[in-house]
């Protein structure tokens, strides 16, 4: 986590407080007001707002434009960038553009294969992968250099993030190794895949701590509250790389339908309370999918509201 940037998220992490981030998914239309609406709902409860980049390969309003909007609202965006759709020229160009608007956080992702999305027949790019994108951002920031060798003066001041999925099992050790590789590439913070299996995340974090990796990269635990038992079952059966233990499905399904959402929030709150005690967890990334209005309640219930104001 060496390089210091103007990122407010980085400052919060470095202050020793738990950081809180959440995300906004842009609309599948040109309606920019939706982004502002969603951002307004959560703005006082989080330190930074991720904007997804055509997540699940579904074409949406672009992450960069949405991030600029959020930045112009006086908030702190995290630019998510997937390598699936653009080559290194386009991505570096977007990074320079983002930096020109004072965007200071980037989350480097490879992205879901387009097979999952609404344009399954398209060609993909994958010129770089997420690790290489992180290397590229670090080079731009620390050396003032593009991958092609061009050197420039005004550098993008990016706090570099990436994702990690401890649950893409069964080999947890391999996942730790992969994260180590991302750290070596320059990644400073991690937002994990949605956590439901507490045993696995603890095993993962123990391995991280044993290798001292938790001191080199800030882990923000990914939390997604379940809206109902249908969502729990869908995530358990249909979403690759997500591990929903049977007891979670049983717990949500065990209460009347009208109370399932409440149970989902309570479960998320309990998980966060438990994760606060796990060494190496430096904050929480709350992904309330199309349920942004619940983020304030969760942050209040976990006792992380109001957010500390750092100079």
């Amino acid at each position: 986590m060496s390089a210091e940037t103007p990122s407010k998220l980085q400052k919060m992490i470095n202050s020793g407080n738990f950081a809180v981030t959440s995300e906004v998914g842009p609309p599948r239309s040109a309606d920019g007001a939706i982004i502002e609406h969603k951002a307004m709902m959560i703005k006082d409860y989080v330190d930074a707002i991720n904007v997804t980049d055509n997540q699940t390969s579904v074409c949406r309003l672009c992450s960069l434009a949405a991030c600029i909007r959020i930045k112009q609202m006086g908030l702190e965006p995290v630019l998510q960038m997937v390598t699936r759709d653009r080559n290194r020229i386009a991505m570096q160009s977007d990074i320079l553009g983002a930096a020109s608007f004072g965007i200071n956080n980037i989350l480097c992702l490879t992205g879901d294969h387009q097979h999952f999305g609404d344009h399954a027949s398209c060609a993909n790019v994958f010129d770089l992968d997420s690790t290489q994108l992180a290397m590229c951002v670090r080079m731009m920031r620390d050396e003032g250099k593009l991958l092609g060798g061009w050197e420039f003066e005004v550098r993008p001041q990016m706090f570099i993030g990436a994702a990690a999925n401890p649950f893409a099992g069964p080999n947890v050790a391999m996942r730790v190794s992969r994260l180590a590789k991302k750290v070596a590439a320059g990644v400073q913070f991690i937002q994990t895949q949605c956590i439901y299996n507490m045993d696995t995340i603890k095993t993962f974090m123990k391995m991280m701590v044993d290798r001292g990796l938790h001191e080199k990269v800030a882990i923000l635990a990914g939390i997604t509250p379940m809206k109902n038992v249908g969502m729990a079952k869908y995530m358990q059966k249909r979403v690759p790389g997500i591990d929903v233990p049977e007891e979670v499905v049983k717990r949500i399904g065990g209460v009347p339908k009208e109370n399932q959402a409440e149970e989902g929030i309570t479960l998320a709150v309990e998980q966060i309370e438990e994760l606060k005690e796990v060494e190496g967890i430096r904050g929480f990334h709350i992904m309330a999918i199309e349920w942004e209005e619940k983020v304030p309640e969760i942050v209040e219930r976990i006792g992380l509201y109001p957010r500390p104001q750092l100079a």
Partner: protein, 222 residues
């Protein structure tokens, strides 16, 4: 056929320099035709490696052989009774052969000895050029028998682009513009009407973009 070129010998040496017993395995298929990895190339590489080891004062055994095709298990099986004696095998087959060899002998260290380049034709001895990218859905009927995916640098389906100049590609004056070739050929065969038909966005799922590919022919399977 698949076209390949021999890897620089120093790259191979870097991989095998600590081995005491090595087998150089050529392939009698495509890489023999383009003279990158047949028995002759296997013998040259084996000889060169023996010289390398000997001049460095090391007594290493470097043997050579060539298999009919390394992309078939029946032929790979010919190594089963002798492969154990080697520390590693350098396969001069294309990427398919190297991988299939490694798959068949999963505990043996296998190194590639060629760089696999493309699917192409023999223009002359020592001059090979690309013709097909195996997109999985052939459009040659529409393009006068010349593939724009393989032969246009931008793989445009409605070319040529504005960078094409005097029949040459903007990437290099040595590269003919694929779309110029298509246009001329359509004209020759009296099918220029096809040229003005806009081609819609292609379904790339049958190409590399759809992920690793497989053909299952139930009518052929035993």
């Amino acid at each position: 056929m698949i076209k390949a070129i021999p890897k620089p010998i120093e790259e191979i040496i870097e991989n095998v320099k600590d081995c005491d017993k090595l087998l150089i395995a050529g392939c009698d298929g495509c890489v023999t035709v383009c003279e990158a990895g047949g028995l002759k190339e296997a013998k040259i590489l084996a000889s060169a490696l023996r010289l390398y080891f000997t001049q460095g004062g090391k007594q290493a055994q470097v043997d050579d052989t060539s298999l009919t095709r390394q992309c078939e298990k029946e032929y790979l099986a010919q190594l089963s009774d002798r492969i154990d004696q080697y520390d590693a095998v350098v396969s001069l087959a294309c990427g398919c052969g190297v991988q299939y060899l490694a798959e068949m002998y999963d505990k043996k260290v296998i190194y590639p000895g060629v760089d696999t380049c493309f699917m192409g034709v023999n223009e002359e001895r020592g001059l090979y050029s690309e013709r097909c990218q195996a997109c999985g859905r052939c459009i040659l009927a529409e393009t006068g028998g010349i593939c724009p995916i393989a032969r246009c640098s931008k793989r445009m389906l409605n070319g040529p682009c504005g960078g094409s100049d005097k029949g040459k590609c903007e990437v290099s004056k040595d590269v003919p513009c694929g779309w110029e070739l298509i246009y001329e050929r359509l004209k020759t065969v009296g099918q220029l009407d096809r040229f003005e038909n806009p081609t819609v966005p292609k379904d790339w799922t049958t190409s590399r973009d759809g992920g690793p590919r497989k053909i299952v022919r139930e009518d052929l399977r035993i």
